[in-house]
Symmetry: C2
Subunit: 357 residues, 2 copies
């Protein structure tokens, strides 16, 4: 039974890092007889250039038909000045929303081989392993109404709406609890319930879902405190579940604690674990085309794909081990390089993972 | 000409730390003949206990009549279970909004004597001196409509509104530029203009205000990136200006970079520089009544009061120098204590600052 994988290289370093991840994916495909069939399309700026919009209808249909999607990254200065309605990010937001990819998993994992890369003291981050579960299709990102208009006095004003329904909160809370259950059994729900109506409902619904997970220890934290605690004592966290905007902010903060955002993959899942997989980092236009970008986050996104969309735990683990092995061998792209290691380019790094697999 | 200072000790450690700050304020009052007349009232949980509401009308009137307000901190577990409408934080939000205290200054300053306290590597934070300018009376904190209700299908939903008008943005942007002008001449405006309508207006208005400040270098940064950059390379920032919610999150993150949030004061100013001054830290109910809380953030809030509301630069500097001197002497409360220093209590620390002044 064949499985369709849609590959969206995107912009900037996207095509380079995706090419390496595809090598790994193809090898896993053969080795574990996964029956994957790959096809390619465009998203973001590349789609603007090809189709005139950052997500073409035909691409969306292909994405719907696929069993999983591998994405590079989108955006870049080339498209900074265009009509905001067709900016590259709009394509990303639209594919998330149209495919119902509400469950965004963003691990912040410190590789022991890269402990020095963190700006935090080694004892604060050694062994760091947090999973941020971010709600990805609701909240202020998609809330209506949103508008920019003139007031009676001639002044401009603009507003956004932050809505959450019980069912939206319930399903992401479940993802949080399910993840905590197979990890450290601790879930911290982050909100701003001392100020926001939506957060008050968030907290109430998370409490209700908790009844089905007596084995998971639940705590609540205000978002400002969470931003502090991630700096103060990040290892206190196991799984964090939070809304779309807070998750955007906290997952970037958490990823930077590791000092090596070039290593961090992500998954965005729908209700049936169909998913889109992409590195946490952006399209890094400044180093695009130079062959120096770190492909490991994208390669690890393939591992997440095998794990979450296809249940291929053995193959997923094998890829993670191969990545760990090349780090042990001392191979480093520029972003994670330190004294005594061997600096390699994107392709050499990809080849090394393939060889290790 | 006498000046009225309203003192609101608040909850938890509030009364203890405020008592020490008042000693310093009274000494400065005599020494520099400032003509301050102090009166006291309650805010937060203490006000709930006394008046049944977290901010009584008569307290609000006293606050309006005062020339400046010194606040301890509000909140605690004692009032966690009460009606959300009269929770202690509501009093804080109401006094900010009713007095029009839209300009919130939150410095994140690393004291060289306390460099070890940070969880970040010394080279990353040595000399750190950031000022966060947070909009404090608008945005999603006060936006209407906000509501919790039942949908037609019987499910609950709740929403908040994030509005900003041109004039609200303009006045806080000016505060940001004015502060940058007398500091490092760099202003970073933080928003989420790739997603939010309110952020798009924010960015446009900040650009307009920038025309009046050609001597200040303006940059824009998305909030998720800002949360990352604060961890990666915090010293790249001089002044950050941002909205109410982003400012809440980023100022807490930035303050924790110093490792000594017990040292950080804040000011909340209206259009005429009338202000409310309070430590950045909370009411710390767990250590309340033990005489071990750090009063320095509150003492430094007095210094900010003298500087911003009364233009008493000499007196303000003298207080800062006195604080620096007691740190040089090796005196530390528990929160900032390290090996080789002398651990002191709240009162002893306050007395030491008074002696140094
Ligand atoms: C590009 C942007 C719209 C996006 C987001 O805010 O969700 C990005 O920051 C992310 O976190 O994937
Ligand atoms: C107590 C709370 C409502 C408040 C806020 O969110 O503004 C606090 O976190 C702060 O930053 O002063």
């Amino acid at each position: 039974m064949s499985k369709q994988i849609l590959v969206l290289p995107g912009d900037g370093i996207g095509p380079e890092i995706v090419a390496e991840a595809v090598k790994v994916l193809q090898l896993a495909n053969e080795k574990y007889q996964l029956g994957f069939v790959l096809s390619y399309d465009e998203l973001g700026g590349a789609a603007v250039d090809k189709y005139g919009v950052p997500l073409a209808d035909e691409t969306l249909e292909r994405a719907r038909a696929a069993d999983a999607i591998l994405l590079g990254a989108v955006g870049g200065p080339k498209w900074d000045a265009i009509d905001p309605a067709i900016r590259p990010e709009r394509g990303l937001l639209k594919i998330r929303s149209q495919l119902g990819l509400f469950g965004n998993l963003r691990p912040a994992l410190l590789y022991p081989q890269l402990a020095e890369a963190s700006t935090l003291k080694p004892e604060v981050v050694a062994g760091l392993d947090i999973l941020i579960v971010r709600e990805l299709t609701g909240g202020i990102y998609f809330g209506a109404p949103r508008e920019s208009r003139l007031l009676a006095n001639g002044e401009r004003m603009a507003y956004d709406t932050l809505p959450y329904s019980e069912s939206e909160i319930r399903r992401i809370a479940k993802v949080g609890f399910d993840m905590a259950r197979v990890r450290g059994k601790k879930l911290c729900s982050v909100d701003k319930a001392n100020v926001l109506a939506s957060s008050q409902l968030w907290r109430a619904v998370v409490e209700e879902v908790a009844k089905d997970y007596p084995d998971v220890e639940l705590s609540h934290m205000y978002v400002d405190n969470a931003a502090m605690q991630l700096v103060r004592a990040p290892k206190q966290f196991d799984v964090i579940v939070t809304d779309n905007m807070f998750g955007d902010i906290l997952s970037d903060e958490a990823s930077m604690l590791t000092g090596s955002i070039g290593m961090l993959p992500s998954a965005s899942l729908d209700a049936d674990n169909k998913g889109m997989y992409e590195p946490c980092h952006g399209s890094a236009p400044d180093i695009a085309g130079k062959g120096i970008a770190n492909p490991l986050a994208t390669i690890l996104s393939v591992s997440m794909m095998l794990r979450y969309s296809f249940g291929q735990i053995e193959a997923a683990n094998a890829i993670e081990q191969a990545v760990s092995k090349v780090l042990d061998q001392g191979l480093r792209t520029g972003d994670i390089w330190s004294d005594g290691c061997r600096k390699v380019g994107t392709v050499e790094m990809g080849d090394a993972v393939v060889a290790a697999l």
